[in-house]
Every structure is written in structure tokens, then in C-alpha cells.
Amino acid sequence: MVKEYNKGSKIEYRKRDILYTAGLWLVSLILPDPHLPYRREFIKKRDFFYLGALLLLPLILSDRLVYLMVLAGIYAIVALGLSLFLGYAGQISLGHAAFFGIGAYTTAILTTRYGVPPLGAFGASALAAAVCAYLIGKPILKLKGYFLALATLGFGEIFLVMVRETRSLTGGVSGIFGIPWFSVAGFVFDTSLEQYYLVWGVLIALVLFAKNLVRSKMGRALLAVAASEDAAASVGINVAQVKVRVFVLSAAFAGLAGSLFACVLSTANPEGFGLGLSVLIVMMVIMGGMGNLYGPIFAAIFLTWLTDVLGGYQEYSLPIYGVILILLLIFFPDGVGTRLNERLIYLISYWGRKRRRERVDI
């Protein structure tokens, strides 16, 4: 019996079949699984509305705002990846700017020193960030809370020092200049408008992928790990492995974003990849709401716009920025859009229930 079964299941591949399957596998990442009952929910009406709005936005925006939307899209990619790690799996990372930087520097070095085409560098950036995340994630992801935050922050600082000191490779403090525009098969993305469609196209593909992921077995495992690691382990989830996998995945997202960042700005220097960027990205995820894929994208647009507006106030910008961060955290700790209706009702009835609010929490 067993022998026959083995014989029957043996599949012979031609060489080109591997090519087809690789392509099919890539497509399957962003297509909804037809065998699952949620396929009607996968794309809702509001998704078409968002898509239409995205396509038409450049018509009404000024050049400056289109450029800001390009940046926002890049940060949204990082925030989307971090949302999987932070919002879904409930871990903390203050080191994602380092993965962003690794992506940017991989692209910068490969395209300027070795003449690799940008599309190849794009893939290599994700791979480099993922490998770094795997190496660093294996030991440190057993930590929790403050200590995980500190360990990832430490990784970010080590990355910055390495970039500043290995001048022969990364150009030190001044960085690398003259990174070529992103190009696919001879088509060069050299205007803000083309870059806008490039970045948001990549983002849409990644959103579809993330949507698939959070509804898969892995996505359920992430939620279980966030709820309780002990309970997750007791139902047979390999907690350590799940955490490393989602860390690697979110780092790969950051690497892709970093690669796009390097191609869009055509420079890479260590100033942009410090703790400030990590804080900004974590803020995007918090503002967007934990366990939410669209929230971080909206938050990315808002915070990119905010930092640009504040930039006009010169030396007052950072204190105001810090105060806004603290106020957002105090008044919207669960994200701005989370349970908006209930919270509005709560706010309206706030003063009426002042006495009852003073109960003891144990």
C-alpha cells in the first residue's frame, strides 16, 4: 500500500516548470486562497475606494505633496512590516530603522560600486535585511518588554556606529551619493509621479500579502503569541520560531522600503537611520492601531505630513513634535481610528459618568 502511494505521488519536473512555479508561488502570495471561506471578505468595497483614491490623488496634489506621498508610501511599507511584528505578534522593536538602513545601503553599494541593476538590488536589500534580522533575532527574541526594546535599540546603535566607521564601504558620515533611479526593463522611474505609482504599487502588493498572511495559520499563531506565549506554546505553536519568522519578515519589508528610499532620494547617509526614525515608525503603528493593516498606512501619511509641516518651524519643530507624540499617546493609546464610534460616545458621556469612573481596578 505504502509503496504504491509513494509511487503515485512522485512528480517529475521539467526545468522550466520550476520557473513557472516560482512565478506562481510569488503570485499566490498576494492572491486570496480560493479554498478559504473568507474570500468574499478579502477585498471589500472600501478597498476599491482606497485604490481609486490612490490612483486619482496625484491629479489634485501639488508636486511637493506627491513627493511627500512617495516618502509616506516608503514609511508605510516599514510601518506595515512593523505592524505584523508589533501589532499582531505583540513584540517591541526600536531597531527597525537599522533594517531600513541596511536595505538602503545594500542598494546603494550594489548599484554604485558593482553596477547591479536596481531591481536586483531591490531583492538583495530585502534578503540582506532578512538575514541580519535572522542573525540578531535568534538570540534576542527570547526577551520581552523593556529589554527587547533595549536590545533592538542597541542593535540600531551598533548599526549606526558600523556605518559611520567603515568608511571604505559606506562613505562614513557623508554617505553615498548618485544612486541611480529605480528602473525595470529600461523604464526609469525618474519623476515624482512615476515614483508615486511605483512605491504605492509595491505597497499594495505588500498589503495584499500581509492580508493573506494574517488570515493564514501563521497569522493566527501571531495573534496567539501576542495574547499569551504560554497558551500559544500549550496548543503546539513553536513560539520562538514564530517570533523569529515574523521578525525576519518585517525586516524584509523594511529592507524593501530602504531600497526604494535609496532609489528615490539617490543618497544614503547615516543621519536618516537613527533612533528618531525608529520612534517615528513605531508611532505610526501605535497611531494606526494594534492588529490593523490600514491604520499604519494612514498614520504614515499623517506623520510624514506632520514632520514636513513642523520642519518649517526650524528649531521649534522637535519640541513640538515630542509634545504631539506624548499627547497622541496619552489620548489615543490604542490608535486614533480604533473603536472610534464607541470612544466618541464615551467622550460625550465622559463628564456624566465622572463619579462611576473612580472604581478600583485589581
Binding site: L86, I92, L94, P139, I140, K142, L143, K144, G145, Y146, F147, A149, L150, A151, L153, G154, F155, E157, I158, V161, M162, R164, E165, L275, V279, V282, M283, I286, E315, Y316, L318, P319, Y321, G322, V323, L325, I326, L329, I330, P333, D361, I362
Partner: protein, 296 residues
């Protein structure tokens, strides 16, 4: 010339640096012993201690000791305000929100200081002259001895506070067993409030002592804060003695590393030490009452 020639001098420098890290680490430990919160703005208290003293001497014309005292008081007020405005509204928030809020507070404090006092690095005169003491081949700045003495003095004071006064015991109780503290009638939030004041005071004293040794600029606090935190983790999280030991270990490791690797990598050494200690012994050298090593 082998790098070993410089080791004694680097050891002396490392002990001075270690005393500074120990002072900063003590600030973290005070808050953790009262509330399990880690204040990422701790380094800014150190920076403000130095910068505000400088302002009182140069701007207001106060004599040195009086200016230092006034600066410490001002920073204590800032610490109390930080608790009232940021930590108290977020007392039930998750760890992530608290981290982000204290990081936000640190951004506000450092950049407001840049706004008020300028971005130029500030230097104060040493307490007792510039002339270095020479012991054999080793040169020690007298200010280093001041820092060293102050570290152990503050350690002693904090020991008295937590072991000999009811207030200190109440502070510790509110961290180790919040429910029990509530039931015995300890005003837990007030204890955290006081702990922030004490911690800011220790940070400011560290700032006053450090500024004669190094130039203190508006952005010096963040890195110093992280290194103090690393010192507290290395020595044993949540222990005063651990903070002191961790500070000296970190200072000496960082200082002697200059003999073997390029000086530019010095800032990375502390973080490498952090990753190593978190991986191999998360509860630190002396062990920690708050971390159960089996679960980490």
C-alpha cells in the same frame, strides 16, 4: 608598542567613566524599585543638571555651589512634572506606550534645552583645580575622585532611604506587590511621584559632577542615559549595588577597548556588552529580584 602599555591609564579613566555610569544607573534603579517603569528620559536629567548649572553661573551670576544646588532643585521639579504630565496619565498603559512616551519626553527635554540654552557644548570649572594627580605613570583628574566619592555617598544615602526609612520601604512595596501596597494603604502613585523626584535629583547631581570632565551639549543625555541603563542591566536589574558594579564594569570594558579596537567603535562596545549580557545572563552579574532567569 603594545596596547598593554596604556592599560593602567585606561583603567583609571574607565573607573571614572564607570562612576558616572553608576550614578546614571542609580537613577534608573530608583524608579524601577518604585514602579517597574523604565524612564528613557533619565539621560536628559543628567544633561539638564550640567546645562542648568552653567546657565545659573553664567546667566544669573550665582556662585558655583549655589548654582549647582539650584540646578538640582530645578531638575527635581522637572522630574516631578514629568511624572505628573506623562507617567501618571499613562499609569495603566502598556510597556510600549510608556517607552514611547518617555522617549517623546526625552525629545522634548533635550530640544527645549537646545532652544533655551543654545546648542553649544557647556563646560564648568572643576571643583578642585585642573592639576591632575599623578600616581606612578597614571594621571587622574581630581574631578574623577569627586565623581567616585559622590557615587558611593549617594549609594549610601539610597541604602539608608530604602532600608532605614518607612518611606523607602513603602516605595519598594509599591513595586514588588502593587495590590499588597494598596491594601496596606500606601499611596502608590505618590510613591512613584517621589521616586521620579529622587531619580531626577540623582541624575542632576551626576550632571553637575560630569560637566567639568566632559563638555555637556544638549544631545549628550540620550547616549549617557542608554549607557546608564546598560550598566544597571549588567550589574543586576533593580539593585543599587548592581547599578554600581555594572557601571564600573561597563566603564572599564569600554575604556580598555580603546587599546584594542579603533576609538570610533567605542560607542558600540556598550551595546555589544548589553546584547551579550541579555543573551547569557539577563538577570545581570549580581542577579535581580525582578527577573526570573528561567522565563527569560
Amino acid at each position: 608598542m603594545t596596547p598593554w602599555v596604556h592599560i593602567p591609564q585606561l583603567l583609571a579613566a574607565g573607573i571614572t567613566m564607570g562612576a558616572i555610569y553608576a550614578l546614571v544607573a542609580l537613577g534608573f534603579v530608583i524608579i524601577v524599585r518604585a514602579s517597574q517603569i523604565i524612564n528613557f528620559a533619565q539621560g536628559e536629567f543628567v544633561m539638564l543638571g550640567g546645562v542648568v548649572t552653567f546657565f545659573f553661573i553664567k546667566g544669573a551670576g550665582l556662585p558655583y555651589p549655589l548654582a549647582a544646588l539650584a540646578a538640582v532643585l530645578v531638575v527635581i521639579c522637572i522630574g516631578l512634572l514629568l511624572h505628573l504630565l506623562v507617567i501618571y496619565p499613562l499609569r495603566k498603559a502598556s510597556v510600549l506606550i510608556l517607552i514611547m512616551a518617555t522617549v517623546g519626553a526625552s525629545i522634548v527635554l533635550s530640544n527645549t534645552s537646545a532652544l533655551l540654552f543654545g546648542t553649544l557644548p557647556k563646560a564648568l570649572p572643576p571643583f578642585s583645580g585642573d592639576l591632575p594627580l599623578e600616581i606612578g605613570d597614571i594621571r587622574i583628574a581630581p574631578q574623577g575622585l569627586w565623581v567616585f566619592g559622590a557615587t558611593f555617598f549617594l549609594f549610601f544615602v539610597l541604602y539608608l532611604l530604602s532600608h532605614r526609612t518607612l518611606l523607602g520601604k513603602a516605595m519598594e512595596a509599591s513595586s514588588t506587590d502593587p495590590l499588597g501596597a494598596d491594601l496596606t494603604g500606601i499611596a502608590r502613585n505618590f510613591m512613584v511621584f517621589l521616586a521620579f523626584g529622587v531619580s531626577a535629583g540623582v541624575g542632576a547631581i551626576a550632571g553637575v559632577l560630569v560637566t567639568p570632565l566632559f563638555y555637556t551639549s544638549y544631545n549628550a543625555g540620550t547616549l549617557l542615559g542608554f549607557k546608564g541603563f546598560i550598566a544597571a542591566v549588567v550589574g543586576g536589574w533593580g539593585k543599587n549595588s548592581g547599578a554600581i558594579l555594572g557601571g564600573f564594569v561597563l566603564g572599564i570594558v569600554e575604556s580598555t577597548s580603546i587599546a584594542f579596537i579603533p576609538a570610533g567603535y567605542k560607542d558600540a562596545v556598550a551595546f555589544v556588552v548589553l546584547l551579550l549580557i541579555l543573551y547569557f545572563r539577563p538577570k545581570g552579574i549580581l542577579g535581580s529580584p525582578y527577573i526570573d532567569s528561567r522565563r527569560w
